[in-house]
């Protein structure tokens, strides 16, 4: 009998991998992710639900949930903040 293996998951995504997923989230809305980490999220149109989508995509990749409270979300202003927060959340779970 053939068994279907679950998709392989990695335990933690690095900044570049998270950045790739962020590019995909923005691309799905026809938006671009500027290079560097200092771009302002409001200027590139990355909203709080986009952060949710990105977090859920990261969860899919690492195979576990990254549940978190909203206050942390209120402090993210730049692309670098997004990458920092997702790195922090992965470390915490």
């Amino acid at each position: 009998m053939n068994s279907i293996d679950p998709p392989a998951t990695v335990s933690v995504l690095d900044r570049d991998q998270i950045r790739d997923l962020m590019t995909q989230v923005l691309a799905a809305q026809g938006k671009d992710l500027p290079s560097g980490e200092s771009a302002d999220l409001r200027e590139i149109g990355f909203r709080s639900l986009d952060f949710s989508e990105l977090a859920l995509r990261v969860e899919d990749e690492i195979g576990r949930e990254l549940n978190f409270d909203a206050p942390g979300l209120r402090n993210i202003r730049t692309v670098g903040d997004v990458l920092d927060l997702l790195a922090e959340l992965q470390d915490a779970t």
């Binding site: 949710s52 549940n67 409270d69 206050p71």
Partner: protein, 247 residues
């Protein structure tokens, strides 16, 4: 059916009476001459001081509202210390500040257990003792504006408060004139629970409020006291104290 009004409560049990609105309710009821038993997981120095200063009037206990055995023991202790309970304020609750999709299942279950299951069980316990001894009483459930209006980050919390309001209406039908049961639904006020709100959110709430200011516990106290003590014939209702943010 009796044609006399349900008498004012004289011995009131307040859940979550250690700080915030609950502590203010305890202080207010004591000042109004009622006997009060209050519990929370941690008895704060303020509550302990009140109980020490007025041992014949105030009883304080360290009890988790989700621990039915401990709650039952505290109810019995209250009855033997202060007398039969004829008033209940379901005030203990925990808050939430997380989008539904990012709320862990165990956090969601804890919210429902603390804010909905536990007060329903406490209400059941107090009512059973009231009915078994031919007494009449009053119950006030502290709900929230969140039961009527949507706020992001509060889905499960709002569901518990809406659940208490729905239960209140059905219980009013069940209890008829044996006990009056109502809800007080405050708007946001400053406390440990609401400390997570950012200044942008608070500004937005104030802007949407007709009176132009946030609710304060002191605004809520006369309403709770009235429901516990005044002859009003108010039954199965939700009294909203929020400065008109939902108008």
């Amino acid at each position: 059916m009796s044609d006399s009004p349900v008498p004012a409560a004289s011995v009131v049990l307040v859940s979550g009476g250690s700080r915030g609105l609950g502590l203010s309710i305890v202080e207010d009821l004591v000042a109004a001459g009622l006997k009060v038993a209050a519990f929370a997981r941690t008895v704060t120095p303020e509550l302990a001081k009140l109980a020490d200063t007025e041992p014949d009037t105030v009883l304080a206990g360290s009890v988790d509202v989700t621990d039915l055995a401990a709650v039952t023991a505290f109810v019995r202790r209250t009855e033997s210390t202060l007398g039969p309970i004829d008033g209940l304020v379901n005030n203990a609750a925990i808050g939430q500040d997380s989008l539904h999709v990012h709320t862990a299942p165990d956090a969601l279950a804890r919210l429902i257990e603390t804010n909905l299951t536990a007060p329903l069980l406490l209400t059941r316990l107090v009512l059973r003792r009231l009915l078994a001894t031919s007494r009449r009483g009053r119950i006030v459930n502290v709900t929230s504006i969140c039961a009527q209006r949507g706020f992001p980050g509060l889905a499960a919390y709002s569901a518990t408060k809406g659940g208490m309001e729905a239960a209140t209406r059905s219980l009013a039908r069940e209890l008829r004139d044996r006990a009056l049961i109502n809800c007080v639904a405050p708007g946001f006020f400053a406390s440990e629970m609401s400390a997570v709100l950012g200044s942008t959110q608070l500004d937005q709430i104030v802007r949407r409020t007709s009176t132009g200011r946030l609710t304060e516990p002191v605004d809520v106290l006369p309403v709770v006291r009235m429901l516990l003590t005044a002859d009003t014939n108010i039954h199965g209702q939700v009294l909203t104290v929020d400065g008109g943010s939902n108008t």
